[in-house]
């Protein structure tokens, strides 16, 4: 009985064809489940990583960084120049104002 069963099983051939794009469908379902578990941060990270691989976006990012640095420098330099100008103005006034040396009651 066992021999007969084994013989039959050995002879049995399954002749099934997978439906078209079966494998792709399985992978798509796996990806969808994984995607559902991902957080917003994961997605943003993926998007950024993908974006950084594009040379054009990389160039834009570097240009924006440069522009930000230059813009900040202009604003900061205006403040610094105003301060330096006040110091220079004071220095000049000290050379013509005898009261500026502490004897005028402002020491």
């Amino acid at each position: 009985m066992n021999d007969s069963l084994q013989k039959r099983l050995a002879e049995w051939q399954v002749d099934l064809e997978a439906p078209p794009r079966f494998e792709a469908g399985v992978w798509a379902r796996i990806a969808a489940e994984e995607s559902a578990r991902r957080t917003v941060f994961d997605r943003v990270g993926d998007w950024l990583a993908a974006a950084f691989y594009q040379p054009r976006l990389a160039a834009v990012a570097v240009t924006l960084g440069l522009a930000l640095g230059i813009g900040t420098a202009f604003v900061k330099a205006q403040d610094s120049n105003a301060l330096l100008t006040r110091q220079l103005e004071s220095r000049y006034m000290e050379t013509i104002n005898p009261l500026a040396h502490g004897g005028g009651g402002q020491s």
Binding site: L66, G69, L84
Partner: protein, 155 residues
């Protein structure tokens, strides 16, 4: 993951480089003036758009006025010391203290007049607009010399 980090680093370097270069270039003239031994006069020339001829005249006027200014400064300092000493020595206003205070005030007034005379003379060498600006800047300190011109105007 290395490439995004490298790019972030590149963005940071670009921003810092842009900042450093532009800030240095934009503040260099003022810093150079501040480091100059005669920075006040260099500033005056630039701020009030003096031509070489005007600047030469102003420099000469400045040189002529300087001994007067220094002498007055010394007299005021001596007078101030006298006032301080008298105030410290008494618990009431003595006739000497009152006289010393009056002398100190007269000296200050004399200095203001001399300075104002110099300021008007210098302003006469400038263009009318610059001269007006210069007089406004200089005279704002006549009353409170220790205070910045702009802070006085703001008030």
């Amino acid at each position: 993951m290395k490439r995004p980090l490298a790019l972030l680093l590149a963005v940071l370097v670009a921003a810092l480089l842009g900042y450093g270069v532009v800030y240095e270039l934009a503040t260099r003239p003022a810093k150079a003036m501040l480091c100059h031994p005669d920075g006040g006069m260099v500033w005056l020339r630039k701020e009030y758009h003096l031509t070489p001829e005007q600047f030469a005249k102003v420099q000469q006027m400045h040189a002529d006025y300087r001994p007067t200014c220094e002498a007055m400064c010394m007299r005021i300092a001596v007078s101030r010391e006298k006032v301080d000493a008298l105030i410290a020595a008494h618990q009431t206003v003595t006739p000497e203290t009152a006289a010393a205070l009056q002398e100190w005030a007269l000296l200050q007034n004399e200095c203001r007049v001399a300075m104002l005379r110099h300021v008007y003379a210098v302003s006469a060498e400038m263009s009318p607009e610059d001269g007006k600006r210069y007089v406004a800047m200089a005279t704002a300190r006549l009353v409170a010399p220790g205070m910045a011109h702009t802070s006085l105007l703001d008030k």
